[in-house]
Each structure stands twice: as structure tokens, then as C-alpha cells.
């Protein structure tokens, strides 16, 4: 039936296995694929189906657009999309650059991971810095200090400057009620606006990427993945992530029902007590509004187990900005956010 795969992480690993077009040698260290089809039956696991769907979308966008770019933060979802892109074009290189909208409120280990990944894969990284916009007065720091909503303008400028007609993102429909209505290919006008009441119907697996001058398309290859799918895929493919996704000791304090890390942009108030806790991050974003969860899940299988048992959504658990209102994400998306 199916030849056991070479170490699947070879696609993105620092020292890839010597994969050749000839049937690969079984790698004893690699767990048997969860995907092996049963004798005589044509059955794929859900991860295989989602993976093939995502690869199809990525290839379709690369074939139909002139200058695609991938929004890459070093967060798990964008890392998974990059991994899928590497698989889609193997043995060639990923045929588009990466774009990071840098809020300036980053976790240092995520930036280190981002740079190391870009270097390893020989890709080009474009960085749009919110700090530059604040420095020259185009944007103003918000009273609450969070910079997630400030990403939109630098993002749109970077898309225009790079003349990108397609922008890949790792957004998933299970993240938020507004994202649940998002298309896989989502047309944006020259202001980057999302018009949820006037979206193109998406039929069969035929994606319509037609757009006019000034418009661009956001492409979400892992729209149909859940947080648990993402983690099971990271486990199966042995995909490297920034270390803060796994349990570690960190100085934190309690605010708005979340554990916030101490740091230059997230100083505790005098009423808040700093303590060392074993935590991990379920999402990685602007350090000033991303919370950690208490966890002892220090390995990928422990995280998979934890996510499977969690009774709270990842954004509900970790994003202060999405707690502002029921429509916080919808409002940001309409303004051009991803």
C-alpha cells in the first residue's frame, strides 16, 4: 500500500533527511502515520484530508496570483501554513516571501524563532513595524497599551508597497464567530476592508481569485482546522515551535482573569502580585494583551491532551483584546485586520 514516510519534519527540519524521488527508506524513529489507509479502503484521516485541502489552496493561489506573501508571526498557525507550503512545493523552495507585522511588543523567543526559521529555509522576510508608525505620528499608542488593533495600517501599507495581490494567513474559522463566516479566499478592497454581507459564494473546491487593480485576496488554507487539528498535526509532523508554547516557569501576575508575563510592555500595577508559575501560551501575539495559561504540558503530546480536554477556547483564554466586545474581531476584520 503506502510507503512509510520519511521523517515528515524533514520538510522544515534543520537537517532534512535525504529524501529522493525514489521510494523512501522507512525511518524507525518516525511513528507510523495516523493516515495509513486500510487495505482495500480509500479512507484518509481527518488530518490527511485537511492537509491535502490546504496544499490544494496554497498551490491554487501560487498558480493564479502574481505576488503572494505569507503573514508569518512565528505563531503556531503561521508555522503550520509555512510547513504546508514547504510540502506543497517540495522539492522546490517555498515560492513566496514572508511578512511579519511587528507590534514591537514581541516575546523575544518568538522573534528568535522567526528569524531562525527564515534563515533555515532561505526565505525572504518583510517586516512592517508598528513602532515606526508610532514614532512618526501616523499611529498613536492606545490608552490600554495593546497594539493588536494598530497592526492594520502597517499591514495594508506593506501589502501595497510589496504589491502583494494575495496574502496567506493562518486564521481558522473555529477561532471566533466572525471568522466562522470568513471565506477561504476573501476579497479585500483597496482599504483592506472585509464586507461580510457581500462575500463571494465558495462552491465545490473551485476558488475564485479574480480581483481588480487595488484589490487583494486573503487566503486562509487552514480555515477548516481546529486548534486540536493544528496540535495533532504539529505532533505528527514534528514541527518545531517557539518554546513558550510548552510549559515553563515564568514571572507572571493576574489581570483580567489571565496570567500576564512581566516585561517592558507589560509591567504589573502596584496592586498586582508577581509570582513564578508554570505556564504555557496557547496563542502568541502582542505581549501586552496575550495571556498565559497555567499548564504542566511540557511536550507536544501533553499539549495535545491538554487542548483536547480544555473547556475554554484559545482566544477566550488568552486574548484580552477579544474580550472587549462580542464583535471585537468582526470590527477589526472590517477595518482590514486579518
Amino acid at each position: 500500500m503506502r510507503t512509510p514516510p520519511v521523517n515528515a519534519s524533514s520538510v522544515l527540519a534543520a537537517t532534512p533527511n535525504a529524501a529522493t524521488p525514489a521510494p523512501a527508506t522507512p525511518n524507525a524513529a518516525t511513528p507510523a502515520p495516523a493516515t495509513a489507509n486500510r487495505a482495500g479502503s480509500h479512507r484518509l484521516s481527518q488530518l490527511d484530508v485537511l492537509e491535502s485541502e490546504a496544499i490544494h489552496i496554497i498551490r491554487e493561489v501560487v498558480a493564479e496570483f502574481e505576488r503572494p506573501v505569507l503573514l508569518f508571526s512565528g505563531g503556531k498557525d503561521s508555522v503550520v501554513v509555512l510547513h504546508l507550503a514547504a510540502k506543497a512545493f517540495w522539492p522546490g523552495r517555498v515560492p513566496f516571501p514572508l511578512l511579519h507585522v511587528d507590534t514591537g511588543h514581541n516575546f523575544p523567543e518568538v522573534i528568535a524563532f522567526r528569524d531562525e526559521t527564515v534563515e533555515r529555509l532561505g526565505l525572504r522576510l518583510e517586516v512592517a513595524r508598528v513602532q515606526d508608525y508610532i514614532d512618526d505620528g501616523r499611529l498613536h499608542e492606545r490608552a490600554d497599551g495593546t497594539r493588536n488593533p494598530l497592526q492594520t495600517l502597517p499591514l495594508l501599507d506593506a501589502i501595497a508597497a510589496g504589491r502583494h495581490d494575495a496574502v496567506f494567513g493562518g486564521a481558522r474559522r473555529d477561532e471566533d464567530k466572525a471568522r466562522a463566516k470568513e471565506r477561504i479566499l476573501s476579497l479585500r478592497d483597496e482599504f483592506g476592508q472585509w464586507d461580510p454581507r457581500n462575500q463571494r459564494p465558495e462552491l465545490w473546491n473551485l476558488y475564485n481569485g479574480r480581483h481588480t487593480v487595488g484589490q487583494h485576496v486573503r487566503a486562509f488554507p487552514i480555515s477548516n482546522w481546529t486548534e486540536l487539528n493544528v496540535w495533532r498535526y504539529i505532533e505528527r509532523e514534528q514541527i518545531a515551535l517557539p518554546p513558550l508554547y510548552y510549559a515553563h516557569d515564568r514571572e507572571v501576575y493576574r489581570r483580567d482573569g489571565m496570567w500576564r508575563a512581566t516585561g517592558p510592555v507589560s509591567e504589573p500595577r502596584t496592586s498586582e502580585t508577581v509570582e513564578t508559575r508554570t505556564v504555557r501560551y496557547r496563542t502568541v501575539g502582542d505581549m501586552s494583551c496575550t495571556g498565559a495559561v497555567e499548564s504542566d504540558a511540557a511536550s507536544v503530546d501533553a499539549v495535545v491532551r491538554e487542548v483536547a480536554l480544555s473547556t475554554i477556547t484559545e482566544r477566550g483564554a488568552t486574548r484580552a483584546d477579544d474580550r472587549i466586545s462580542e464583535a471585537a474581531m468582526e470590527d477589526r476584520k472590517k477595518d482590514g485586520y486579518f
Binding site: M1, T3, P5, V11, P16, N17, A18, T20, P21, N37, H42, L44, S45, Q46, V49, S52, E53, I55, H56, R59, E60, A63, A86, K87, F89, W90, P91, G92, G122, D174, K177, A178, A180, K181, R197, Q199, R200, P201, E202, L203, W204, N205, L206, N208, R210, N224, L228, G257, G291, A308, L309, S310, T311, I312, T313, G316, A317, E326, A327, D331
Partner: protein, 461 residues
């Protein structure tokens, strides 16, 4: 549930640990896609909310938000006053107006399967939403209000589902509690449903008595309907065959080529291995039907050249066979002129490419279609210019009969003839859903105007 849960509570919640489904290895489970459809007020949002809630797909913080909003609005239902519709209405306008505007996608899993649910609104832009949900669905759940029985609208919805060849149809007779769980009343409706499906020529249809509000037969069999011995809605969803598995086995191999992988110097493999890839050339795409094995004889369109499959690559993994819906790259024995838009198929099974098409269109745009209109047609990895040469009729959804029409308006299902600027290997939708479907696109603004299904190819007699 009004008390806000903290993360640490959530993660150490002993109740959660008793939930056996969460611990099941879902990685091995299959994926099942279904859509819900129905009319206004037949309780669809409530059913979807119930399905998500009772299968424990609604997490504490979501439920907390919905409970809070329900209370603010004075919702006086059961279940501690939860308005389940709020779980699915994601947009501000939807919550404010109490309506559902656009298709929403929901995700939940049981220990057997993971599900993608396309929740299709029943009133605004009905056909558009229904078509969107139905084209990717393994199953459609059609809701009927038990107090109203089979309506004209039910017939319309079923005829759309039939035309799009949705593999499985489930009719949920909802609000059975309001009929006092009366068997005779249910049987009368179920018989009427089967009469309509027989009239429409639909195959097996699953009919289930449910109460979305009270939860009867949604997840578990209800003790209040002892006369119903069939599966609950969720049991059915867990056991119906996934369409790709079925069609892979029945249909001939097809691979629309999305792009050619020809890295030449720019390889992502270690330098030592790079020479082996200098002449690498493979044809990337997603298998739309059938199975392909190394050594198989294949035909390539356009051109009709024959060759043999020498390799099936999946990102560094060499496969010996592949089937729908895998995304693969095929290596072939001969150097042929193959580019995006080509179709590779099992030898001798591909149709003759055609420039003339007879098709049914589900017209989705507010601008009407009139004969002579120039459009684009997207089929597989091809987008070609097209002219609608004639509108030959329109389906009257009340009588289900063909009537004459000079043009098509939004939500019409019309019959047309189309001339294409380049010949495409389109097959009839009746013989293959994947190889008989296309999009009609506006040539200037790029809007998706219609979903098209080929009813005949070649020059009409």
C-alpha cells in the same frame, strides 16, 4: 454557567477529565462535512446550537457569553435561558436583527468523527447559501416544522439538493414535542416526505423525529419517542459514508494539473542531494476522483497523449498509490507539454474536450443573465472565456417543471447553452460531481455569478 471560568479552573476541571470523547484519539477519525437547511422559524439555529452543546463542542467561555446575552435579552426558554441561536449568529447585524445572514462554519468532534458544519441561513439569499453549503457537503439536514408538515418550500429545498447530488439527505421533523410526541402525526409527515422524495427521484432519505429545543433524538435516542427505532441525528452523522471514499472507488482517476513542479536550481533539499533533483519534473494537483498507482497508463488532455505514471510524490514521501482527495505530484515517463489546466486521467477514460455545453446554472448574482452575455468559466484549473448562447428554460420551483425564460434572475435555476473559447474536458455532472461542476465569473469585476453543472456536452442535437 454564569460564573466566569478562569483558565486554571478550566484546565484542572475534574468534570472535563471525565469526558471520554476528549481523550479519544481523534487523529485517526474521519472528517464528515454536512450542511443544514430549512425555512424561517423551523428551529435550525436551535438544532445546530443543540448539536454543538450536547456534543460538548461549545466551550465554557462561549457558553458563558451566550448565557449572558440571553439573560440580557430576557430569553425565556429552557436550559437556564440559553438562546442556542446566539451560538451560531456570528455577526453583529445577525445578533441585532435576530437573523442569520451568511453561511457559518462550525467544528465539532465525537469519538468517531470530526464534523464541519455549514450552517446555511434559510431566508436571505436562500439559494446562494444553500448551494454554497451543499456543494461541499457529504450530507444535508433539512428541517421541517412538525406543526406545518411538508411545505412547498420543502419541495424546493429538496429539489436543489437533488440537482446538486448531495450524497445523503436527512429530514429532521422538528418540534415533535409540540405534537405531544404523537406517532401518528409524525408518520403522516414522514410519509409525505417520502412521497415528495419519490416524486423527485431521490434515493434513500433518512427521516428523524426531533425536538431541538428539548433535545429529543438529537444526540441520544429519546425515551419520549419509543415508537421511533432509528438512529439519533448524531448517530446517523457518525455512520454515513464519506462521499470521497465512495466516489474514489467508483469513478475513474482524474488529476487536474494545478502547476508543474520543476525546481531546477532552487531546491529545498540538502545540497548533497540537489543533483538528483536537477531534472525533477512533476505535475501537482489534487486527485478529484479515482485511484492512481505507479505503473498506471494515463492519458493527458489537451492533446490526448498517453504515458505511464513513474512516481507519485507527496512532499518527499513516495507513494505507490493515491486517491481522492489527496494533493500529490505525479511523475510521468514521457516529457510531454503539460501546463496548468491540463487533466491527467486513467487511460481511455477522459472525455473529448468540448467547446459546447448544455448546463444548469444556479444564478447567484443580482444582475440578471441574458443570452449573449460574455462571462468566464472556471473549471478545475482552467479559466476560459465563454458566451451564454441561449437561456432555454427555468425550473419552476413550485411545480418543479421547466418553464420558458428569456433571462435568469438571482436565485433562479436555469438551463442554458454555453460556448467556450477553448475546449475543456467537462463531463456531465450526473456522471461525476467533481468533473461536471464549474463557476461562472463576471469578466470585469470577478464576481462569482453562478454555480454551473453540465447536463450534456458537445453540440446539442
Amino acid at each position: 454557567m454564569t460564573q466566569a471560568l478562569t483558565d486554571s479552573q478550566a484546565l484542572t476541571d475534574s468534570q472535563a477529565l471525565t469526558d471520554s470523547q476528549a481523550l479519544t484519539d481523534q487523529a485517526g477519525g474521519t472528517l464528515f462535512r454536512f450542511a443544514t437547511a430549512g425555512s424561517v422559524d423551523d428551529g435550525k439555529s436551535t438544532l445546530v446550537g443543540r448539536l454543538l452543546h450536547d456534543s460538548k463542542a461549545v466551550l465554557a467561555d462561549q457558553l458563558d457569553a451566550v448565557t449572558r446575552t440571553s439573560t440580557e435579552r430576557g430569553f425565556g426558554g429552557t436550559e437556564g435561558g440559553i438562546d442556542f441561536a446566539l451560538l451560531t449568529d456570528g455577526l453583529r447585524a445577525e445578533r441585532e436583527q435576530g437573523i442569520t445572514i451568511d453561511v457559518a462554519y462550525r467544528y465539532f468532534a465525537t469519538n468517531r468523527r470530526s464534523f464541519i458544519l455549514a450552517d446555511c441561513p434559510g431566508h436571505v439569499q436562500y439559494t446562494r447559501n444553500m448551494v454554497t453549503g451543499a456543494t461541499t457537503a457529504d450530507a444535508v439536514i433539512m428541517l421541517i416544522d412538525a406543526r406545518k408538515g411538508v411545505l412547498e418550500q420543502t419541495r424546493r429545498h429538496l429539489s436543489v439538493v437533488r440537482l446538486l447530488r448531495v450524497p445523503h439527505i436527512i429530514v429532521a421533523v422538528n418540534k415533535i414535542d409540540l405534537l405531544g410526541y404523537d406517532e401518528a402525526a409524525y408518520t403522516e409527515i414522514a410519509d409525505a416526505v417520502r412521497a415528495v422524495t419519490a416524486e423527485l427521484g431521490l434515493g434513500e432519505v433518512h427521516v428523524i423525529p426531533v425536538s431541538a429545543l428539548a433535545g429529543d433524538n438529537v444526540v441520544d435516542a429519546s425515551p419520549r419517542t419509543p415508537w421511533y427505532t432509528g438512529p439519533s441525528l448524531l448517530e446517523l452523522l457518525e455512520t454515513l459514508p464519506v462521499v470521497d471514499e465512495v466516489e474514489s472507488a467508483l469513478e475513474a482517476f482524474r488529476l487536474p494539473v494545478q502547476l508543474v513542479l520543476r525546481p531546477q536550481g532552487a531546491v529545498a533539499v540538502p545540497a548533497a542531494d540537489a543533483p538528483a533533483f536537477r531534472d525533477y519534473r512533476a505535475y501537482a494537483g489534487q486527485v478529484t476522483s479515482g485511484t492512481v498507482r505507479v505503473g498506471d497508463a494515463v492519458t493527458v488532455l489537451p492533446g490526448g497523449a498517453g504515458t505511464v505514471v513513474t512516481g507519485i510524490d507527496f512532499a518527499g514521501t513516495a507513494l505507490t498509490e493515491a486517491f481522492a482527495p489527496q494533493s500529490i505530484a505525479l511523475r510521468l515517463r514521457d516529457d510531454l507539454d503539460i501546463a496548468r489546466g491540463a487533466v491527467i486521467g486513467a487511460a481511455g477514460t477522459l472525455p473529448d474536450p468540448t467547446k459546447e455545453l448544455t448546463a444548469a446554472l444556479f444564478w447567484l448574482d443580482p444582475r440578471p443573465l441574458t443570452p449573449g452575455d460574455r462571462t468566464l468559466v472556471k473549471f478545475g484549473a482552467n479559466t476560459v472565456q465563454a458566451i451564454v448562447t441561449a437561456v432555454t428554460g427555468r425550473l419552476n420551483l413550485d411545480t418543479l417543471e421547466q418553464e420558458t425564460a428569456a433571462s435568469l434572475d438571482i436565485n433562479d435555476i436555469g438551463h442554458v447553452t454555453v460556448r467556450l473559447a477553448a475546449a475543456l474536458p467537462i463531463e456531465t455532472f450526473a456522471s461525476s460531481r467533481r468533473s461536471g461542476a464549474f463557476l461562472v465569473i463576471h469578466p470585469q469585476d470577478g464576481a462569482t455569478l453562478a454555480a454551473g453543472i453540465a447536463t450534456a456536452t458537445g453540440v446539442p442535437a
